[in-house]
Each structure stands twice: as structure tokens, then as C-alpha cells.
């Protein structure tokens, strides 16, 4: 697979159409908004923590297929893991979508399970922000007291 077919593969289209954990958590311990002012993608992520453990996670909002599928997959990947594990996943995921496509590192993709489906994003530099928006928001939530807003333009992040 390459190019568009890889970017818009079945699994991603499915997560876009039927996002998992697409819910608001009332009385969430942590709430963070992820916002990309350039394209308007906007999500709120809700977290319930048990100490360092992500007990429950939900998200709501709107954006492109890549940002929504990525947010959905992220929630399935981090539910029930510790803060540290979630941050490690983020680091690996970030490396995956920002990797140099010319020296493809398959091993990395395997390790990430379903998140690996987003590997195709690396071929579309304009879309890396879409794929990592929810992750940046999660990162913000895990490292904030309770409420925060994370914008993709704040720190030139990608």
C-alpha cells in the first residue's frame, strides 16, 4: 500500500465514521481542548484518573478524518495504561508519523499495534498536525492540574 490508500485505509475510515469513546465524561478529573486554529479541528478530551492510571477517557469534537480517527485510536490505546506508558506511546507515535519515509522502520510500526495504521501520515507532511492533535491534547491533560487548552500553534509543534 502506498499514498492515499494507505492514508485512508479501512481502519482509519472506520474510526472516523464510528469513533470509539466518543463521549463526554461528566465530572471528569481532567479536561483539555485540542485546537488547530489553521484548519479548525477542535476536540475536547476527558480523563478520569486513578492515581497514575488512566481509568477512563472520552473525546468529543469535530475535525478531519485523520484527526478524528487518530483521537479515537488514541483513546483505545491509552485506556487502562499509566501516565508513563501513555507518554511513551505518544513518543513512539510521534516518531512514527514524523519519520523520514525513505528509511522505513517497520519494527516501530509493529510495536504500536492499531496506531500503526496511521503510519501513512508521514508521507503527507501537511497532515502530521492532524494526526498528532489529540495526542498533544492528552499530553497537555496529563501534565496539567485540571483544565487546559492546547493549540497546535502554541509551540510550533507537529
Amino acid at each position: 500500500m502506498s499514498g492515499l490508500n494507505e492514508l485512508y485505509q479501512e481502519l482509519i475510515l472506520d474510526h472516523n465514521k464510528n469513533p470509539r469513546n466518543f463521549k463526554k465524561i461528566e465530572n471528569a478529573d481532567k479536561l483539555v481542548e485540542g485546537y488547530n486554529p489553521l484548519c479548525g479541528d477542535h476536540y475536547t478530551i476527558y480523563l478520569n484518573m486513578d492515581g497514575d492510571l488512566i481509568k477512563d477517557i472520552g473525546f468529543q469534537g469535530a475535525g478531519c478524518a485523520i484527526s478524528k480517527a487518530s483521537a479515537s485510536m488514541m483513546t483505545t490505546a491509552v485506556k487502562g495504561v499509566t501516565k508513563k506508558e501513555a507518554e511513551e506511546l505518544f513518543t513512539k507515535f510521534h516518531a512514527l508519523v514524523t519519520r523520514d519515509v525513505h528509511d522505513n522502520n517497520e519494527a516501530n510500526i509493529e510495536e504500536l499495534g492499531c496506531l500503526g495504521a496511521l503510519a501513512g501520515v508521514a508521507e503527507f507532511p501537511a497532515r502530521i498536525k492532524c494526526a498528532s492533535l489529540a495526542w498533544h491534547a492528552l499530553h497537555g491533560a496529563l501534565n496539567s492540574e485540571d483544565k487546559a487548552v492546547v493549540s497546535t500553534e502554541d509551540s510550533k509543534m507537529d
Binding site: G3, L4, Y8, L13, C39, G40, G63, A65, I66, R127
Partner: protein, 422 residues
């Protein structure tokens, strides 16, 4: 002899009124392939491509004319000054201003609006005064006025629009009152394509003695602009949207206003004499052009203007009308498409949403087909809010676009639907 002249006559009669293929030859970038497909450039509202003549002008300037202007007696400086001022004359004719001194070079539309806000606005707009803009302004005609309102305690009032993207003139009239000190409205909307009844808008304001600025960023490449006929007090546009270089544009202002306005920036060229006690400002237009200007691009912009006026606005308007009609049909025939901006009077801009597919995904898939469109809010977030959508995909045309390119766009949208099962 006789046959020859006869055949020429028939040729002229049957020749297509607009030879788009010949025009495309003048734009080298259009020959390019993108992702292995011929480039279909439909992002002209963001910036237009440049004809060879403009590229040559820039090269010629740096190869043989480069010098600073208005300050040398040497040969190159005289040539550069001559070319620079000649370009001012071209802008004057382009806008049909009555005097070259009413043409001020700025970085673009954004700087032009900010100049008026910083000079006219700061001097003449105060507490509880009102500034009127419209619901379809580009951020560059919203934010400067908001900053001024904040600074002065003035208020921003907004002319609403209907669901087709047309301004409500009755509502506009109701907004005008004794507190209204300025009106700043876009001529052609970059996100909806609407051509506003700008002359009427100006008349209504003038009946109350209120000056009007026209954001002509999108108008300048599609319509013949005549500032004297419009009777606008200020008009701004960007060279890069009129087939010229980036980083340059012009502000037209009526002499009576420009003379009352304080300078914009202080520095060289904008003064006639300086002592530590007192500085006397230079005459128009130099009072507003501090420092070494963007000489090369001013001259390049002049060539861009020569190019469009050479093609001729009558021909351009007629051809673009056909193109818009053809494209509107082709796009609205695709199931699931909703066109945003369906005004009676429109320029070559089609904003649309495609079912539940996000504009960003539309843009990525079209790009793989070599088709460049803009996706997002087009620096008009309030327009998106008005229509309750996060973003649109936008195809915007120039006179070098073809019907075949419209067909390619329609095929590309078919591909989007295929991928998304929409």
C-alpha cells in the same frame, strides 16, 4: 492580395474570443506536474501565478537596474527611480485614480488597511465612535479595527448577510448613525465569491459624510476597478493576487484624506527636512513611504498590471463568467455537494462542502490528483460560523484556468467520494 485579406477577416471572425491555451504559455509554472499529474491550479484567491514577463522584469531589475531610489544622482539610481515611479503611474491608471500622488506602495492589502487604521483611524476615531465592516470580511479587515476599537473605546458594527452570502443593505442603513465614523468593506469576498454592491454601500455612507475603505484584494484580478467612479475614499489591493510578486501592494487614498493624516512610519524618504527640534514631513505619497521600499517588486507589480490590462478586463470578465457557470454546474451536479456562497453577483470562487467529508481530506485527495485547492476557513472564520461549518474546500479561478481543469476537479471529487464511500 485580395484572398489573403479575406482569409484574415474570416480568421478574426471565427477565432475564439479568448485563447486560453496561448495565455497559459505565458505562465511557466502551469506546465508543471504534481504527483505525476498535470498541475491544476485552483487556488488563485490565495495567490495568482506569475507570467514570464513579471519574472523577467525582476531578473532584469537585479541584473541591470538595481540601486536605491530618490537619493542618488548616479545612472542606476536614476533608472531605478524612473522605473519605480513609472510603476506608480501604472497603478494609478489601473485604478483610474486622478493623481499618482494618491498611490502609496505598501506590503499588501493587510498593510494598507493597517496603515489607514494607524493614521486616519487613530486621529479621527475616538470613544463611542462606530466602525462598520461586513459579515464576510477577511481577518485583515476585522482585526485591525478591533485593535483600534480596543485602544479608543470605539465599537465595531457588522453588516449581516443572507444565506446566499449577500449583504443586507437595509440592515446596513440601519447601522449608520451619528456615531459612525468609518466604513470598511470587502469588494469581492475571498471565501464566498460574492461581489458586493460596493458603489451603493459607498453612496449610503457618503450621504452621511462617512469615509469608506474598499478591500479590493479579490476584486483587482477579476473586475475593472475605477476608484473615481466608485468614489471610494480608500482602496487597497495586493500585487501577488494580480499576477505580480509577493510582498507588495498599493493603497489608494483621496488627497483630501491623505493630507489630513499623520505619517505611518518615521524614517528616511518620508521627510523633507529634519533637525533635532523639528521635522517637516515630505509631500504625498512619500509621507507614507518611509525607508527603502520594495523597489523590485513595485516594478514587478507594474508588469503584472500591464499583463492583465493587456489581456483586457472585458475579455477576462466574460471568460471567467463562463468558467464560473461551467464549474458551478459541474460541482453542484455531484451528489452531496453544498456550495457555500450562491450570490447573484459572484466572481470565480466556489467554496463547498462535500457530505460529511472534512475539507482537509478533500484537499489531500485532490492534491494527489495534481489539483490545488484551498481548504480551511480562508481567514474568514466569522463566515464559517455564519454558515455553521468548520471549513470549506475552495476552488478559485483565474483567466488561465480551463474547462478541462474544471472536469479534472469534478473527477477528483468523484475520487474523494469513492475513498470515503460517500
Amino acid at each position: 492580395m485580395k484572398t489573403q485579406s479575406q482569409s484574415t477577416a474570416t480568421e478574426i471572425e471565427t477565432a475564439p474570443s479568448f485563447d486560453v491555451q496561448r495565455i497559459r504559455e505565458d505562465f511557466p509554472i502551469l506546465k508543471q506536474k504534481v504527483h505525476g499529474k498535470p498541475l491544476v491550479y485552483l487556488d488563485n484567491a490565495a495567490t495568482s501565478q506569475k507570467p514570464q514577463a513579471v519574472i523577467d522584469t525582476l531578473t532584469r531589475y537585479y541584473l541591470g537596474q538595481n540601486a536605491n531610489i530618490h537619493r542618488g544622482v548616479h545612472y542606476l539610481s536614476e533608472i531605478a527611480t524612473y522605473e519605480y515611479e513609472k510603476a506608480r503611474g501604472k497603478v494609478k491608471l489601473f485604478l483610474n485614480a486622478s493623481d499618482s500622488r494618491e498611490i502609496i506602495f505598501v506590503r499588501g492589502t493587510t498593510e494598507g488597511i493597517n496603515l489607514v487604521k494607524d493614521t486616519y483611524g487613530r486621529k479621527f476615531i475616538g470613544k463611542n465612535d462606530e466602525i462598520v465592516i461586513s459579515a464576510m470580511e477577511h481577518h485583515s479587515n476585522i482585526v485591525p479595527w478591533q485593535i483600534l476599537c480596543e485602544e479608543k473605546g470605539a465599537k465595531l458594527r457588522v453588516i449581516p448577510m443572507n444565506d446566499r452570502g449577500e449583504l443586507l443593505l437595509d440592515e446596513y442603513e440601519k447601522l449608520l448613525n451619528e456615531h459612525t465614523k468609518f466604513v470598511s468593506v470587502v469588494y469581492v469576498s475571498n471565501s464566498l465569491g460574492t461581489i458586493n454592491p460596493i458603489k451603493k454601500i459607498i453612496q449610503r455612507a457618503h450621504e452621511r459624510g462617512i469615509p469608506v475603505l474598499v478591500d479590493g484584494a479579490q476584486a483587482a484580478s477579476h473586475l475593472k476597478v475605477n476608484v473615481q467612479d466608485l468614489d471610494c475614499d480608500f482602496f487597497v489591493f495586493s500585487g501577488h493576487k494580480v499576477f505580480g510578486p509577493t510582498g507588495i501592494g498599493a493603497l489608494y487614498g483621496k488627497t483630501k484624506y491623505l493630507e489630513q493624516m499623520p505619517p505611518y512610519q518615521g524614517g528616511g524618504d518620508m521627510i523633507s527636512s529634519v533637525t533635532f527640534e523639528k521635522t517637516t514631513y515630505n509631500v504625498l505619497p512619500y509621507k507614507f513611504e518611509a525607508g527603502t521600499p520594495n523597489i523590485a517588486d513595485v516594478i514587478g507589480m507594474g508588469t503584472g498590471i500591464d499583463y492583465v490590462t493587456g489581456v483586457g478586463f472585458e475579455a477576462i470578465t466574460a471568460y471567467e463568467k463562463e468558467l464560473l457557470k461551467y464549474a458551478t454546474e459541474a460541482i453542484s451536479n455531484i451528489e452531496g455537494v453544498r456550495i457555500i456562497g450562491t450570490a447573484e453577483e459572484k466572481a470565480g470562487v466556489i467554496s463547498f462542502v462535500l457530505g460529511t467529508v472534512h475539507a482537509h481530506d478533500v484537499g489531500t485527495i485532490l492534491d494527489q490528483e495534481g489539483i490545488a485547492v484551498r481548504t480551511g476557513h480562508h481567514c474568514t472564520q466569522p463566515v464559517m460560523q455564519r454558515f455553521g461549518i468548520p471549513a470549506t474546500a475552495r476552488a478559485s479561478f483565474a483567466f488561465y484556468n480551463t474547462m478541462e481543469e474544471v472536469d479534472a476537479l469534478a473527477r477528483g471529487l468523484g475520487k474523494v467520494k469513492e475513498i470515503f464511500g460517500a
